[in-house]
């Protein structure tokens, strides 16, 4: 969303680098709340997976079209943690790997802000992105045909990698140095 600055002088606006309007409480616009005790819905176009090893109970929400699910935690270890599951944005693994590499390369260009790097989560190639000040991060990884996006409003890169590794149930993470 466009960030507007003072109107005192011409050219007083620029593309956003500020906080977008993210809803960390429900994640999706017009989300549908699911009961915490109910079984995971069977109407999703993929088989959802209950994230593992997160030390809190998740609030669950469905996306407006019922094609994605968000698990929202208040974890003593990670703080507010959001895990979104959906069909992969890029179904083809080769194309996905190429796109991850492209995004890492783009993150070093002058028009970019924040950082991007490739990491391994649960034995899968994953994309780790972070804000300019590294205070907020996200891991995106596809496993067994489901795309997991693990993120939070205040998660540093190493912490989100740890959370994603815990959530996906394996501890095979290796974290190369972040790009800058």
């Amino acid at each position: 969303m466009l960030a507007m600055l003072s109107s005192a002088t011409p050219a007083a606006f620029e593309p956003t680098r500020d906080e977008p309007q993210l809803d960390w409480d429900h994640w999706f616009p017009s989300a549908t709340a699911l009961s915490a005790n109910a079984s995971l819905p069977t109407t999703l176009p993929f088989t959802p997976v209950e994230p593992q090893s997160i030390d809190a109970t998740a609030a669950r929400y469905l996306s407006p079209n019922g094609d994605a699910i968000a698990f929202i935690y208040d974890s003593p270890t990670y703080g507010r943690l959001v895990i979104v599951e959906a069909l992969p944005d890029i179904p083809d693994p080769t194309m996905r790997a190429q796109s991850f590499s492209n995004q890492v390369a783009q993150s070093k260009l002058p028009q970019a802000f924040g950082s991007a790097s490739i990491v391994s989560i649960a034995g899968e190639m994953a994309l780790l992105t972070s804000s300019e000040d590294l205070s907020r991060s996200m891991v995106e990884v596809v496993k067994n045909g489901v795309q997991f996006s693990v993120l939070g409003p205040s998660l540093q890169p190493s912490v989100v990698v740890e959370a994603a590794t815990a959530a996906l149930g394996e501890s095979t993470s290796t974290t190369p140095p972040l790009s800058s």
């Binding site: 616009p29 993150s107 802000f113």
Partner: protein
């Protein structure tokens, strides 16, 4: 004071007014700057909310002296299914040369892509000059995914039926950007001054024909409910989308609270 004196005083007054209106404009260009905006976003049709691209018509208008009545920017943006990534193209009107005869104006376009981590990119394009007399016509903007890839780019067409030009939105010859997804929800968005500061309705909050292409790249389809059933999903009390007719919408003020016609941001019903 004689006639020459009055004429001289009048000339000085005009010069002073001009300098006040346009204090520093070496290129005689004027940005229609904005501040303290609220944003509302057009919700896509639930059943047709996925698309490869979004077309949006915006209406040219007279910007007035020093952009008087200028109120907002507009964008078309596309989110991925997880709502963790989005790519957005937008524009702000500006006078390209106010003192020229004839005057010219520009759409100042930008493109940006963001992920929910705060990582992303952004850049502006100064656009092309449009005659200042071009008022009431519909220009057309498109944010586009290159079929079969995760590359995105940004297009503009003057007067709707003209030829489309790709906007080079970043230095170094960049037109395309890989943003890791290829299709999903298509939105239109506009910003407004808070009520009372500048409530003029401009081209930028007057939308028409938001369309999308399905994943198979079939023909363009309506994204908005022609019956006027789509409302902004951002909850901006005091503003609402108004169905003008056919597939045309504008955003208008409403007495607070006017949430009944604006779908809340989230947290809907429970199952």
């Amino acid at each position: 004071m004689g006639a020459r004196g009055r004429a001289g005083a009048l000339l000085i007054t005009e010069v002073l007014i001009f300098l006040v209106l346009f204090p520093a404009q070496p290129a005689q260009a004027i940005d229609c700057s904005v501040e303290d905006q609220v944003i509302t976003q057009m919700k896509p049709k639930a059943t047709l909310g996925k698309g490869d691209a979004g077309w949006l018509y915006v209406r040219d208008r007279d910007l007035g002296v020093n952009c008087s009545g200028s109120a907002a920017f507009s964008t078309v943006n596309i989110h991925n299914i997880s709502f963790t990534r989005w790519v957005e193209g937008g524009w702000v009107e500006k006078w390209d040369c106010y003192t020229c005869n004839p005057r010219t104006k520009k759409w100042r376009g930008f493109m940006e892509g963001m992920s929910a981590s705060g990582q992303g990119f952004g850049g502006f394009n100064q656009g092309w000059s449009i005659p200042g007399s071009d008022v009431g016509t519909w220009d057309k903007f498109r944010i586009n995914n290159n079929a079969g890839t995760t590359l995105w780019n940004w297009w503009w067409a003057e007067d709707a039926n003209g030829s489309y030009s790709e906007m080079q939105w970043a230095p170094g010859g960049f037109y395309d950007w890989d943003f890791g997804f290829s299709q999903s929800y298509v939105f239109a968005e506009t910003g407004r001054y808070p009520a009372g500061t500048n409530s003029g309705t401009g081209a930028r909050d007057h939308f028409n024909n938001l369309e999308y292409k399905s994943s198979g790249w079939q023909g363009w389809e309506d994204n908005l409910d022609p019956m006027g059933g789509n409302y902004g999903y951002d909850n901006m009390d005091g503003w609402k989308w108004s169905h003008v007719g056919a597939r045309e919408y504008e955003i208008v003020s409403c007495a607070s609270p006017c949430l009944a016609t604006i779908v809340g941001a989230s947290g809907g019903q429970s199952l």
